[in-house]
Every structure is written in structure tokens, then in C-alpha cells.
Amino acid sequence: MRLLFALCLLFLTIPPSLAVDTPDEMLPDPALEQKAQQIGQQLRCLVCQNESIEESSAPLAKDLRHIVRQQLRQGRAPKDIEAWMVQRYGEFIRLRPAFSAMTALLWLMPVLSLMVALLLARRLWHRSAPPAPLTAEERHTLDSMLKKD
């Protein structure tokens, strides 16, 4: 029991880490390494498609991580590295798709749905507004009808 508890504690203390776990994979320059991680976190692993290449432990993700670092070391701009990836694997490799005619609906959907919601809310608001107060004439008719009873 004590052992189990210790094991649980051990697993709990493992820090959430990226898949880059071997130091030899990382760049010696911490600033460049951070840049590499930022690029990698925006690139989809083609094997485990909901993970970025920084998170995935698939061999292909490891290769792509290596390419990102290699190209950074050669002084290529992050934009160019992403373009290199898109040329081979398509727009799908971007976890944050670029704004284009294809993705316009995707990007504008939050604004569009907010607008529709506001319109609907306005209609509802108007419908539930209290009725206009009675005019003097209406009040008079009502009073006389009530008195009759």
C-alpha cells in the first residue's frame, strides 16, 4: 500500500512535458530552441493528428522537429519553415490555418454567430417588452365595462 502510494506520488510529480525529452534533440541556444518549440507547437503531427509535432512521440514528428531545428540553425525564418511544411503536407499541417477563401468561414464563424445571436436576442427582447400603457380612452372604456359587472 505504501509502495502504491509512493508510486502514485511519483507519477503525480512528473511535470507535464513536451515530447522533446532527449537533450540531444534540443538546440544548444535556448532562444533558438524556444523559437523551434513555438514553430513546432503550430505544426500538426500527421500521425497523431490532434497533437502538435512538439507533443507527439511518433517517429515522423521527431523527424519534423529535427528539420525545424536544422532549418532554424541555417537561419531560415519561421514563416519559411512553415511554408516548407505546407508545400509537402498541405494546409492541414498548420494547427492554426491561415486565413484564405477556404478558411474564411471557419475564422469568421465566431463573429457571424455573435451577430446572429444579437439579432435573435433583439427580437426576443422586443417581443417580451411590456405592452404599451392604455390610452385615456381605453382606460375609460375598461372602467365603464368593469363597473357594469
Binding site: L46, V47, P59, L60, D63, L64, I67, V86, Q87, R88, Y89, G90, E91, F92, I93
Partner: protein, 196 residues
């Protein structure tokens, strides 16, 4: 019975479900006919010239694979990406043999080439000894870098490349998963028949 707004609103979910059902039936039908593949990935290289990839050595006594080979070849090329550690590759090998046998005559309309992805030469050779060797050219891509230039994300994948003297071969089809007779007839044969 009078058709009220309430009835119309109630019909909406039913209509939606019917539409969804029709869509699913179409998908299943497409799956059967081979024109819908749920595992299909983006294939940005389709329609593009053969990519620049490092020249690959082969196994001993066999011709390797380079970009130049696509420039000089006169017939269309079916390039199969495989590995000895890949189970679906084992599944597709009978069909590749069948294809290679039908291509054996001199007027072969198609060349069958292979790219061996992330594999040891000894394992690949052993696998080919056992399963047979359907490829007339074979590139050993041991570090997987050439496959990345081809936009490969797993094995097996298959490319159809048509000869194009101007750009040195053009990719017209890129498929994922084991190559089957159905996929061959749906995607590859039409390109070959369209050729004069």
C-alpha cells in the same frame, strides 16, 4: 389538419436526420466503390512535378532511385512507399505481384518502383526474399528524409507519376493505405487509359 408553424418547426429535426442519413449512405457507398477514403489525407503534391529528393541507394545489385530516373522514364510510374515493419504493406504485396506479372511483357504501360521507408537494408532484403520483389527500381530511404519530400506521413502510400518531359514527371495521384484492386481501378487505370 392545418399546417402550423409548430408543425414546420417539428419537421426540421426529422429533415435534418434524413439528410444526415442520406449523407452516410452516400459515404458508405463511396467507401465500397473506392471514391471515398476516410483515411485520405491532404495530398498537396497531386498535380505537382516530382519533388526534389535526395538520391537513394538500393539494395546490392539493384537499381536505386533518383529524381533523374523520373525524367528519363518513358512510361507512367507507380511508386509504392513501403517498409518491412509495416503490416498493411504485407497485405498489399500480393496485388503488387499480380500487377508486376501483368506488366512483365515488353509493352508494359506502367513501371512499378518502390521506396523503402525507414528500414534496415538487411530487414528489407529479408522481407523481399520472402515476399518476392515486384519493383524494377528500389530506393532505400533509411532516415526517411526523402519520404518527407514526397509528403509521406505513413506506410504504405502510393503515387502515380505520369511522364512529363518539361518538369520531369508529374504526380497525378497520391493514395494512402494498402493498394487494392478497387483503388487501382478507381484511381490509376483511368489515368493510364486516358493516355494516347
Amino acid at each position: 389538419m392545418k399546417l402550423t408553424r409548430r408543425h414546420l418547426l417539428a419537421a426540421l429535426p426529422a429533415l435534418g436526420a434524413a439528410g444526415l442519413g442520406a449523407g452516410f449512405i452516400r459515404m458508405l457507398h463511396g467507401l465500397d466503390q473506392g471514391h471515398f477514403d476516410p483515411r485520405a489525407i491532404n495530398t498537396p503534391l497531386t498535380g505537382q512535378p516530382v519533388p526534389d529528393f535526395p538520391t537513394l541507394p538500393s539494395l546490392p545489385d539493384r537499381p536505386g532511385l533518383s529524381r533523374g530516373d523520373f525524367q528519363t522514364v518513358k512510361q507512367p510510374v507507380l511508386l509504392s512507399i513501403w517498409a518491412s515493419w509495416c503490416l498493411p504493406c504485407m497485405e498489399e504485396i500480393p496485388f503488387l505481384h499480380q500487377l508486376a506479372a501483368s506488366l512483365a511483357d515488353a509493352t508494359a504501360p506502367l513501371a512499378l518502383w518502390g521506396l523503402c521507408y525507414k528500414d534496415q537494408p538487411t530487414s528489407a532484403a529479408r522481407w523481399l526474399d520472402r515476399a518476392g520483389h515486384p519493383f524494377s527500381r528500389l530506393g532505400m530511404d533509411q532516415d526517411g528524409q526523402a519520404a518527407i519530400d514526397w509528403g509521406v506521413s505513413g506506410v504504405p502510400e502510393t503515387f502515380l507519376i505520369m511522364p512529363d518531359p518539361q518538369v520531369g514527371g508529374r504526380i497525378v495521384w497520391h493514395g494512402t493505405g494498402s493498394l487494392t484492386e478497387t483503388a487501382y481501378q478507381a484511381h490509376i487505370l483511368p489515368h493510364l487509359e486516358r493516355r494516347p
